[in-house]
């Protein structure tokens, strides 16, 4: 899958930042941030194959469950905590967000926008959405907590997060007109409200 959010994330991260990438997959984002932004930090991953791929990509990867394993990280111990296209697979998305706010100075979350027009159209037609952003059958998907851009804005209010930057992308381009309808990927940067 093309990760359109990676370039945007990289543009937000100053050099030599300490970064924690939750659900780092094959580690490509962390490896890129290390190469281009001289970032240091760790990827968190639960899947054996992804852990191996991350090691092969030279990433410091910790095999831990995001939903139980963040307790071992100290408060404000990272400049950025990233959750890239993983929120929707979390059992308790709210507590993960709270943990991100505790561990990092800033958080970055990206997620497939359920409000994207094709998804809405699928629903209108009486079907669960399937798209490039949501490439799964409803009965065989890791995604259990899908949300729209507006829903995520609400969750930020609920957990006391101040949104610092908010973009909605479609195939790498920022969508500025009717983003919650025309964009397929939400990208948020936030911090705990001072």
């Amino acid at each position: 899958m093309q990760r359109y959010d990676y370039d945007l994330i990289a543009s937000w991260i100053p050099e030599r930042s300490r970064v924690l990438d939750l659900g780092c997959g094959d580690g490509v984002l962390m490896a890129g941030l290390a190469a281009t932004n001289a970032a240091v930090g760790y990827g968190i991953e639960i899947d054996d194959g992804n852990v191996l791929a991350s090691v092969k990509n030279g990433v410091n990867v910790l095999q831990t469950d995001i939903e139980s394993g963040l307790a071992s990280f100290e408060d404000n111990s990272f400049d950025f905590v990233i959750l890239s296209q993983t929120l929707q697979a979390m059992r308790n998305a709210e507590s993960v967000l709270n943990e991100m706010l505790r561990v990092g100075r800033e958080g970055i979350v990206t997620f497939p926008n359920f409000g994207y027009w094709r998804h809405r159209l699928d629903i209108l037609r009486g079907r669960m959405p399937e798209s490039k952003a949501l490439p799964y059958k409803w009965y065989d998907t890791p995604n259990i907590h899908l949300c729209t851009v507006k829903d995520f804005e609400d969750l930020c209010v609920t957990v006391g997060a101040e949104i610092l930057d908010e973009r909605v992308l479609h195939e790498g381009r920022t969508v500025s007109i009717l983003p919650n309808l025309l964009g397929s990927l939400g990208v948020f940067r936030f911090r705990r409200k001072p």
């Binding site: 990867v61 910790l62 831990t64």
Partner: protein, 408 residues
């Protein structure tokens, strides 16, 4: 295994190094002189940057890989990991196995002759610690012309040594592989060790540790110690799967003879071990385990204790290991992260319990191989000559037992 096996380091030759410079031990005592036996595999490169030290655990030795020309069945204890094209690739790395001081495989230990008395040390052999071993290993590296290790690797007590290397000699080690280990033993672990020690010291043949003079061997005590240890090195599921409640005979005997297969297996393992291992060494190794606690001098703050380290860390645990469970490795990882160290941590879903670190598991070996390849890139010793080949069809100890006995 034979000379023809392209994945074996081939016939290994044990070497011996004598050290006349006294070794001042943590116990406050001094070892005036000592010898270390070791083996090496692969070639040290021109800039002497490709050395990986293998640290052994309780019952291990310097014979890590390959076999002996005069005893081809005596295969190194980590042969499945180390060799040409294996995870620790001897085509590119120079690998050193060393028997620790206090051991019973050739290095100076309790059974060695004390030059001061002309008799075996026995009970007079000082208690040595992980820190002492690391210092003695560093002297061997000096002897071999190795200023800085590319890495040190070990499981269990061996992992503790790899970890200690990063603290005692932060500038002399690039990476530490700390596998199925712990930053210090749990209460339960110390308790197990003490039962093992009590089994040995209460054997009438122990003679307060001076059994050599009595031409005796506390084999019963050592056997019990090993039987207890062995149970804790395996997972409950593994024991159940391998032995279940299978009886040696078709019916219950209503007596105290060997009846269940597991009894037979443990006694066999215990007897075998007691024939070859030294009881004083067993005591000493368990004490070294109990004493290891790098955080102690930092008021229990492990992260602070680790701050001196400059190495990269590869930490791994096995989900079914209840002697050194993942939780203990996570404590280490947490402290390494808090101390801002480079660390990779894998929690491997292998069923074998603590012994999994010695066994051949594709996920585990692939991870080590990938990490070793990164070290190779870092020190510039190139890529693998051929793609990684994972060991397969290697005989596990329990299967070997089963075949020896004509099937479990």
């Amino acid at each position: 295994m034979s000379d023809l096996d392209p994945r074996s380091v081939g016939a290994a030759v044990a070497q011996r190094a004598g050290f006349l410079e006294p070794l001042i031990l943590k116990a406050g005592k001094t070892l005036a002189s000592y010898e270390l036996v070791y083996e090496t595999y692969g070639k040290l490169n021109a800039d002497r940057s490709n050395a990986i030290l293998v640290c052994h655990a309780l019952s291990g030795s310097h014979h890590v890989a390959g076999f002996y020309a005069d005893d081809p069945k005596k295969v190194g204890w980590w042969d499945n990991l180390i060799g040409p094209g294996k995870a620790i690739d001897t085509d590119r790395f120079f690998v050193i196995g060393v028997n620790n001081i206090g051991g019973c495989h050739g290095s100076t230990g309790p059974a060695s002759i004390d030059r001061a008395t002309g008799k075996p040390y026995g009970a007079a052999f000082p208690v040595v610690t992980v820190e002492d071993w690391v210092v003695s290993q560093a002297r061997l590296m000096d002897r071999l012309g190795i200023t800085k290790l590319a890495g040190a690797i070990g499981g269990s007590l061996g992992g503790m040594q790899a970890l200690q290397w990063t603290l005692t000699f932060p500038d002399r080690i690039g990476h530490a592989f700390v596998i199925a280990a712990a930053p210090r033993l749990s209460t339960q672990n110390i308790a197990f060790n003490d039962v093992a020690r009590q089994a040995i010291v209460s054997d009438p043949d122990f003679h307060g540790g001076n059994f050599y003079a009595h031409k005796a061997v506390p084999a019963r005590g050592l056997k019990l110690a090993r039987m207890l240890g062995h149970i804790t090195y395996l997972s409950e599921d593994m024991l159940m799967e391998k032995f279940g409640r299978v009886l040696k005979r078709s019916e219950l005997g209503f007596n105290y003879d060997v009846e269940f297969e597991i009894e037979s297996y443990l006694r066999y393992q215990g007897d075998k071990f007691a024939q070859v291992f030294d009881a004083n060494t067993y005591l000493l190794m368990t004490k070294a385990l109990d004493y290891f606690d790098p955080a102690k001098e930092s008021g229990g703050n492990l992260a602070r204790a680790l701050s001196a380290a400059r190495a990269g860390f590869f930490v791994a645990s096995f989900k079914s290991d209840w002697r050194f469970p993942p939780q203990r490795s996570r404590e280490l990882v947490k402290a390494l992260v808090a101390s801002k160290k480079a660390v990779t941590y894998a929690e491997i879903d292998a069923p074998h319990g603590h012994d999994a670190f010695l066994l051949d598991d594709a996920r585990y070996h692939q991870l080590i191989a990938a990490y070793v390849d990164n070290i190779a890139t870092e020190i510039g010793v190139g890529d693998r000559a051929a793609p990684l080949q994972l060991a397969k069809g290697e005989i596990e100890e329990m299967s070997a037992y089963a075949s020896e006995r004509g099937g479990a």
